[in-house]
Subunit: 212 residues, 3 copies
Amino acid sequence: MDATVLSLVLDLSGVFVFALAGALAAVRARFDVIGLVVVAMVSSIGGGLVRDVILGTEPPLALRDWRYLAVPTAAAALAWWLHPRLSRLRRSVRVADAFGLGFFSVSGTATALAAGLAAPQACLLGVLTGVGGGVIRDVLLREVPLVLSDGQFYAVAALAGAVGVAVAWELEVYGLLAATAGVALVVVLRLATLGLRWRLPVPADQRRRSPG
Amino acid sequence: MDATVLSLVLDLSGVFVFALAGALAAVRARFDVIGLVVVAMVSSIGGGLVRDVILGTEPPLALRDWRYLAVPTAAAALAWWLHPRLSRLRRSVRVADAFGLGFFSVSGTATALAAGLAAPQACLLGVLTGVGGGVIRDVLLREVPLVLSDGQFYAVAALAGAVGVAVAWELEVYGLLAATAGVALVVVLRLATLGLRWRLPVPADQRRRSPG
Amino acid sequence: MDATVLSLVLDLSGVFVFALAGALAAVRARFDVIGLVVVAMVSSIGGGLVRDVILGTEPPLALRDWRYLAVPTAAAALAWWLHPRLSRLRRSVRVADAFGLGFFSVSGTATALAAGLAAPQACLLGVLTGVGGGVIRDVLLREVPLVLSDGQFYAVAALAGAVGVAVAWELEVYGLLAATAGVALVVVLRLATLGLRWRLPVPADQRRRSPG
C-alpha cells in the first residue's frame, strides 16, 4: 500500500467516523432521514470543504471524489439501522473519533502548508479541518458548539498535531513517518486527557475576581 | 422570449418567492427593518452564493447582477407593508415556494454540471442551491432547520429534479424542455406529497428497538 | 506614517476591538479558553474572511499576515485576565466598537470596489465586512443576531459609510481623506443614534393592522 492509498484510506476512515458520530447525534435530535444524511455529510466533509474554499481549491476535494459522498451516506444508513446498538459503543466511537480528529488536523495542516500558507495560519486551518465539521453540526442541531465550551482537550489535541506537522515541514522531514507521528500525538493526547479527566481552564467567576 | 431571458425570469421569480417567505418569517420573529432585508436576501440568494463560492465562480452571480439585490429588497418591502394580508395567502406562498425550489435545484444542478462536476456532486450542489438559503435563514432565526427535521418531501423533491437534470445531461438532451420538466417534477412532487401528507421516515425509537 | 501603514494600523485596531468584544461575550457565556480564542478570532476576522472568500481573494488577507491572528489572541488573553474590570468599561468598548465598525465597513467597501464590483454590491460586502463577524459570533453563542433584531442603527451606520465610499469612488476622489470621512460618518451616526436612543422601525403588530 503506497503513501497515496494509505492517505486516502486514513482520510476516508476519518470521514466515516465523523459521519457516524454526526448521524447518531441527528438520530438523538429526532431528525428525519434527510436530516440524518445531511448532518452526516456536514459533520464529515464540512471542515475540509471550508478549508478548501478558504484556500481557493475549487471545486473542493470532497466534491471531486465520489467516495467522499458515498462514505457519509453509508455511515448514515448504518446509524439508521444500528443506532440502538451503536449507542452502547460509546467508547469505541470515542476512540474512532480521536483518530478522525488526528488524521483531519494532520492532513489539513499539510494541505495548507502545501498551498503556501505560513506555519501559524496553516495550523489554524488544520485545526479548523479537524473541528469545523463538528461546529457546523452543533449549529445545525442548535447546540452550543461543544469544542468551544466543554473544557475538553479536543481542539488542543488537534493543535498539537498541527504544530508537529508544521515543525516537521520547516525541518523538511515531513512525510509518512511524521504524519503518522502527528496523528498518534493527537490520538494519545485526546484519549489520555479524556481518561484523566483533564479540563481546560474557564475564566474565573467575575464576582470572585472583582476587588473588595 | 429566448432561453436566457426565460432562465433569468424564472431565477428571479425564485429569488422573489424565497425572499418573501424569508421576510415573513423575520416579521414573525419581530426583527427590525434591517433584519427583514437581511433575512430576505440570505433566504433568496444564500444558496446560490454558497454554490458559487464552492464552485469558485467569483464574484458570485448574485453580486454581479443588481437585480439579485433589488428583487429581495422589493420583497422585503412588500412583506413589511402587506404582512397581515400575506399571512392569509399561506397556500399561494406555498405553491410559489415549490416553484422556487424547482427552479433553484434545476438551475443549480445545471450550473454545477457545466462547471465540470460529476453527476452525484452536481446533484448535491443543486439541492444545496434549492434548500441552502432556507437553512441559513433558520439558523439566523435560531430555529432547527425545517428541511432536516420536519419529515416533509422538500429536499427529496429537489433531489428528484436534480437527478432528472443529471440524467438529461448524461443523455445530452438537456435544454429548455428538460429544464422545464425538471422544475415541473419538483413542483408536483412537493405539492402532491404536501397534499397527501406523506412523511419521511424518522429513526425508530431507541427503546422500542433495543432487544429485550 | 504613510497611507498603507495608517490603513494597517486602523484595520488592526478594528480587529482588536472586535476581538475584545467577542472574547468578553464568550466569558459571559462561560466558554473555556479555546472557546475564548476562537470567538475572538471569528468576531474580528470572520467578516473580512467571508468577504475575501466571496471575492475570490485566496488565501484571505487574514491568513496571509500573522498579525491578524496575533492581535485577536492578545485580545482574548486581555479579556481572560481583565474581564471584571473591562466589563465596567462598557462605554469605552462601545466607542471602540463604533470605530471598528467604521473602519471595517469603509475598508470592506473599498476592497470590493477595487475588485471590480458595482457600487450596490460593494456596499453590501462592506456592510458584511463590518457586521459579519458579529453575526457569526452570535450564531456560535446561540443568540439571535443582535444586528438583525435589536433595532439599533448599527448596520445602517455601516451602510452610510459604505455609500459614502462608493460615491467618492464614483467621483474618483476616494483616498485617505474620503476614507477618514467615511469612518467618521459611521462613528458619529452610530454613537449619536445610540445616545439619542433612536430605534429602527419594527413591523406593525399583525392584529392592529388587519382591517376590521
